[in-house]
């Protein structure tokens, strides 16, 4: 058994897709001014990290790569139970792609003593590329398990249920391992008032890529988001009502027959 389990968890302060609206005329979404929040699956990752520490001991370090506002996501992680919080930021953070993020996560964990288990969400709510976890593992040459819906920590590694489209694979991997988790793995706790208060006072360690030994060149975007738009799907939005359910049903039947979509 590793003596003191070093658990890391990545949290993204991503775009809040439920509050983001496209510009009416152009259909374009302005990403720089969009409202942000902690990415959904990342909360599952934090919850899982904290549960593992509660059972096996060790420490949980939450890390975010992003802008100054990502402190919010880190405070949330601390409120759920993370012990330490690290923000990696620089002026050009908004241009960083999944390559840059994975590289900075790897560099930060290396600089700050390494990890046994690195948890990430299986995809971010806004971008949903699902690349950061496997990318980090590929870069470090360690094992990765994606789409974990159940995770057990063993003396020298993890046993995970990997949730694929048609089957579930039960796989075992040795430390160090990167595990990406989905929403099914747990239900994140709602932090108490006291936990939130304590988290608001928690000191967040801020590091720059340079401090992590990552040259700016290594972060030059290899994938550039050029535009994001919401395609308009015209819907008729006709209301069908009637004096009784039967009348509504009859009107719906006529409408759908008119559309030619029912037998």
């Amino acid at each position: 058994m590793v003596e003191k389990l070093r658990i890391w968890v990545a949290v993204k302060h991503g775009i809040d897709v439920n509050l983001t609206r496209a510009d009416r005329a152009s259909g374009l979404v302005r990403l720089d001014s969009a409202p942000r929040k902690t990415s959904d699956f990342d909360k599952n990752a934090v919850e899982e990290a904290v549960r593992i520490r509660e059972k096996h001991g060790g420490s949980v370090t939450a890390i975010s790569v992003g802008g100054p506002a990502a402190r919010e996501a880190l405070r949330e992680a601390v409120a759920i139970g993370a012990d330490e919080a690290v923000l990696v930021t620089a002026e050009e953070w908004a241009l960083w792609d999944t390559r840059a993020v994975a590289r900075l996560l790897g560099a930060a964990s290396r600089t700050l003593g390494g990890f046994d288990l690195f948890l990430v969400g299986e995809g971010s709510t806004d971008h949903f590329a699902g690349l950061v976890g496997p990318r980090l593992a590929g870069e470090l040459g360690c094992a990765d398990v994606a789409y974990a819906r159940h995770l057990t920590v063993e003396p020298t590694g993890v046993l995970a249920e990997k949730d694929l489209e048609k089957e579930v694979e039960v796989v075992r991997a040795r430390f160090p391992v990167v595990v990406s988790v989905g929403q099914e793995i747990n239900t994140p706790r709602l932090p108490t008032f006291m936990a939130n208060l304590k988290a608001s006072k928690k000191e967040i360690r801020v590091l720059s890529p340079t401090q992590l030994g990552v040259a700016p060149d290594a972060l030059t975007p290899s994938v550039v988001i050029e535009r994001v738009s919401v395609p308009e799907i015209p819907r008729k939005q006709l209301t069908i009502s009637g004096a009784s359910p039967d009348e509504v049903a009859t009107r719906l039947r006529e409408a759908l027959r008119g559309e030619g979509v029912v037998p």
Partner: protein, 316 residues
């Protein structure tokens, strides 16, 4: 760019065929080549089928079959290097996305997943991919080669001409030990339904009070000649229906002629799964439910009264 070498791989043979057809449809010159990679464990007919899909060449790797993402990525890495591939097309399945990330991390390459369309242009590869939980389209430019592009399953492209005497090359897998040990495989219960292919779908959401009430939804589906779909909570949380019924961002994407959403509030993550439907009917007791914005026909009311009445109207 002239002389593109487009390497295509998916663990799902039908997806691999789609990738080959898509690769052939890209505007590339005569010197460009579409090569299909076949890894150990593929069915014996894989090579022939990929040639029939339009591959100029098939690269078959021999060695032990493995589901470990590291072993898959290492096998691909060796072939991609040998072929000097300029574009690597993978399927944006769960395994495909994982391998895309792993390969990209190992080789320090750019990667994009969830891609619906791609174009080769002078300043790079442009892809259209889903963004904002699938409700927006992002145009992204992959600035370096080779680029890894994971394409959504179901992408269609015209059938290309078949290459007579397509090249067949054998490769030996590098001896990379698996980093994960496969302990057990559990095939999911259900899983037989292919809801993507349904012409009509009746989807039930959290408006349903208990599992026993599914009968009224099934009756409506039967009367309409439809399949039953559901939202995430009913499959993943309550377990009332198996995952093959689940429609949404992490479930299935559907595009039926008729989509009837019953007791579905219309979370962003659900809408992405159904927005390609032709005609949408929404039944909800809450007149402000977001699903109504995506509906052609809106009915406000109690599903327990409306659903049996509609079933009856359709002769059920």
């Amino acid at each position: 760019m002239t002389g593109e070498v487009i390497a295509c791989y998916s663990e799902e043979l039908t997806v691999a065929e789609e990738l080959v057809r898509l690769a052939r449809s890209l505007a590339v010159d005569e010197a460009s080549r579409v090569r299909a990679i076949v890894l150990p464990g593929a069915p014996p007919e894989a090579g022939d089928r990929l040639v029939a899909a339009g591959a100029h060449a098939v690269d078959t790797v021999s060695g032990p079959a493995s589901s470990d993402p590291h072993v898959t990525a290492e096998a691909l890495r060796a072939v991609i290097a040998e072929l000097s591939a300029t574009i690597v097309l993978l399927g944006s399945t769960k395994r495909g996305r994982e391998v895309a990330g792993r390969l990209a991390g190992t080789l320090d390459l750019p990667a994009a997943t969830g891609v619906n369309a791609l174009r080769i242009e002078a300043d790079g590869i442009r892809v259209d991919r889903e963004a904002l939980s699938g409700n927006a389209v992002a145009v992204e430019r992959i600035a370096r080669r080779p680029g890894i592009v994971a394409v959504m399953p179901g992408t269609t492209a015209p059938a290309p001409s078949i290459t007579a005497g397509a090249e067949r090359r054998q490769h030996t897998a590098p001896s990379s030990p698996a980093l994960t040990e496969l302990v057990e495989v559990r095939v999911k219960a259900g899983g037989q339904l292919e809801i993507e292919k349904a012409d009509r779908i009746v989807t039930i959401g959290r408006g349903l009070k208990k599992k026993e009430d599914l009968g009224i939804i099934e009756s409506l589906a039967k009367a309409l000649g439809a399949e039953v779909g559901c939202t995430r909570p009913l499959a993943a949380e309550a377990g009332w229906l198996t995952d093959d019924h689940w429609i949404g961002l992490t479930g299935h994407r559907v595009h039926p002629k008729l989509y009837v959403a019953v007791g579905v509030s219309g979370a962003v993550q659900h809408l992405v799964g159904m927005r390609s439907s032709k005609v949408v009917v929404a039944i909800n007791k809450d007149p402000n439910a977001p699903i109504f914005i995506q509906a052609d026909y809106r009915i406000t009311g109690d599903l327990y009264q409306l659903v049996p009445a509609i079933t009856k109207a359709f002769g059920g």
